[in-house]
Subunit: 211 residues, 2 copies
DNA sequence: GCTGTTACCTACCGTTCGGTAGGTTTATGG
DNA sequence: CCATAAACCTACCGAACGGTAGGTAACAGC
């Protein structure tokens, strides 16, 4: 009994995931989902309150999974560089394997208010995830691993922006799958900056324009 | 006659903009739009092929406007730092004033395939805009203003990611409006990197962990 | 003054939507 | 052997959807 229940529920979730990810919330009909899952519509409404509730279940799962990856990746490394690399590599890897779930996560973050069901609470989970990265960066600033001249909010924004853009970018074009090497280079850019390095050759074009 | 035509068409476009931006494509009905615009449904279908055509008109406008800003901001400044700052400041400013149009632009870029009407071509315009930034960066690399150790694609990704994340972030929370100062600091982070500067104080925590 | 075109209008079409009422099967506990 | 409840099923609802058929008012050209 419990096994069958789980199966049906899981079947619905998997079908809904695929549909929502590929078609968005509004454009996906409940009929589509139950057809894919090969269950009846009342079966869906038995397991979930309504269409919005089904969607919410997926969104929560996506954000929680992402949080888990952040924490795990950070815990398995020492030093901010290795941590950021690990986080990026972990996200890249998970994105490759769970493209659809991640697409839902992003879609809800960036979507218009009405695109997604009302009363869908996800901002708290977004903030929690962002806050975790911010705390990492703040700690690294205290230990001297990161520049204290920047606000830790700015740095967190910077890294999160870099990370998310890469994730979205490679969500769109599915051929180019980013790997650990990509993660390393992204972190390198984040840490070292785009300007030419002073230790390589002293160039002072920049400072003239600044002031 | 021509005046009335323009008025009606413009009324529809403005109403559609507001609706699509706040509710997304699928969740917005043609009826909503014509109600807002205070025109009849056939009036809409007289001026536009269908719902998708109306949407496409808005998307194209958004991307083209963004392209215009990119070019103008780059032309009015010398040196990559000033150019990037100008671009960011220009985008920030335009986002504040044309929140809805920009929201549509972003929504289509990140949306699921089915969320947006089929046969909607926007990738070429996205690429054109990105390509412009890339060309700027490539030129700056040649002139020695940017580090040649990074691929220009990587740098363009980095800057575009930083920029877009800030834009999206401030699209979500409308209280915090980024200004030119924000633009300067973002560019500073992009150029200088997050790692502590050698000229300030020699710290060698990083290099120990790197290898 | 008739015709053609533009720029709409009212009224309605067929379809699909999210959701449900009410009956049926299956497992379990007494 | 029967009662209860879980886990569905078929069949259908009213509402809303995108889109259109067919009529009309206003003006231009001949």
């Amino acid at each position: 009994m419990a096994k069958d229940t789980l199966d049906t529920r899981q079947l619905i979730l998997r079908a809904a995931l695929k549909r929502f990810a590929n078609g968005g919330y509004a454009a996906t009909s409940v009929q589509d989902i139950v057809d894919d899952a090969q269950v009846s519509k009342p079966a869906l409404y038995y397991h979930f309150k309504d269409k919005a509730g089904l969607f919410q279940a997926l969104v929560h799962e996506a954000h929680d999974e992402r949080y888990r990856i952040l924490r795990e990746a950070a815990a398995q490394a020492e030093g901010i560089r290795a941590q950021l690399e690990n986080i990026l590599a972990g996200l890249f890897d998970y994105f490759g394997k769970n493209r659809e779930l991640m697409r839902i996560s992003f879609a809800t973050m960036f979507a218009a208010p009405g695109e997604v069901p009302e009363n869908l609470s996800y901002t708290d989970k977004c903030e929690r995830n962002f806050e975790f990265v911010r705390s990492l960066i703040k700690r690294a600033q205290k230990s001297g691993e990161l520049d204290k001249h920047f606000d830790c909010q700015e740095l967190a924004f910077g890294f999160y922006g870099l990370a998310n853009f890469h994730l979205v970018g490679h969500l769109v074009c599915k051929d180019c799958q980013p790997d650990r090497l990509t993660a390393q280079r992204v972190v390198e850019l984040f840490l070292a900056g785009a300007a030419p390095k002073a230790d390589a050759k002293k160039i002072r074009v920049q400072s003239k324009e600044k002031k």
